[in-house]
Symmetry: C2
DNA sequence: ATAGTTGCAAACGTTTTGCAATGGG
DNA sequence: CCCATTGCAAAACGTTTGCAACTAT
């Protein structure tokens, strides 16, 4: 019900990373906590500057790197483009990337995951993590 | 038995891409045909320069881009680092990575591929390419 | 002959870094 | 108070591009 929840989530990210809580970092963490997409550093910076216009590019990159290094953000490098970020505490999903627009859709397929486990098992392994990306174009 | 095979393979790559056969391109294609690893552009250039030291960076990038665009090279972008290349004339496969030893096994699952196409179709897309990596540990 | 290709160098987009000033614990 | 953090600007990095000279067909 209360907005405080979001603010707490942002601070929690920073604390979990062992980072001092500062105004720029709070704005950046807030952006990530609120994001429903997979923004790259430039987009994170632009959004954070709506809260605090004085934030520098360097701080955005440094904060993102620190959070990612501590495992609090997941990073995706779709093809050769800019690294995109998302908070890591959300349920697993895979990605479908529109190669023409760069749009990213999330999906989950229990069947695919089951088959992945079967493949792993056939090789004598169990899956710790996986990455599945579908590079697509709109069907004609 | 004969070395000519390699040279032909390099030329075949260029012809298949509809590119004129030139000395720099032949050297680059040769490097790719001979590669047993996944070199990035800089490595391809360095190796090609052993055959022809006058090759420019621009030509390396342009040739790699042309071959990749025609589907004759596969590209991998591990993390955010430089794009790596490999000739695409080997059958498609996915990767199972042993997170403890780093060993990489290749596998193919027609069923998974079929489900991938179904997922894409459900979103109104067709798959251009995909990447599937299973990070595993040996089953207890 | 002529369209495709080249090397060079400059530009590009993303990310990192050196530094002096600032500010959080 | 002290060290982490900041903004700035410049540099680093991988990659692309404009251009005039060259070359395969």
């Amino acid at each position: 019900m209360s907005d405080r929840v979001d603010s707490d989530e942002a601070d929690a990210l920073l604390k979990a990373a062992g980072l001092r809580i500062t105004k720029p970092r709070r704005a950046i963490a807030r952006v990530l906590a609120d994001a429903h997409d997979h923004p790259d550093a430039e987009q994170v910076l632009a959004r954070a500057r709506e809260h605090d216009p004085s934030i520098s590019q360097a701080t955005a990159y440094r904060t993102l790197a620190a959070l990612a290094e501590k495992g609090l953000l997941r990073t995706h490098t779709f093809d050769g483009s800019a690294t995109r970020f998302e908070v890591a505490n959300r349920p697993h999903h895979d990605h479908l990337i529109d190669v023409e627009t760069g749009e990213v859709r999330e999906f989950v397929s229990g069947e695919i995951e089951r088959l992945q486990r079967r493949v792993a098992k056939e090789h004598g392994y169990e899956i710790i993590a996986h990455r599945l990306e579908l590079y697509c174009r709109k069907a004609g």
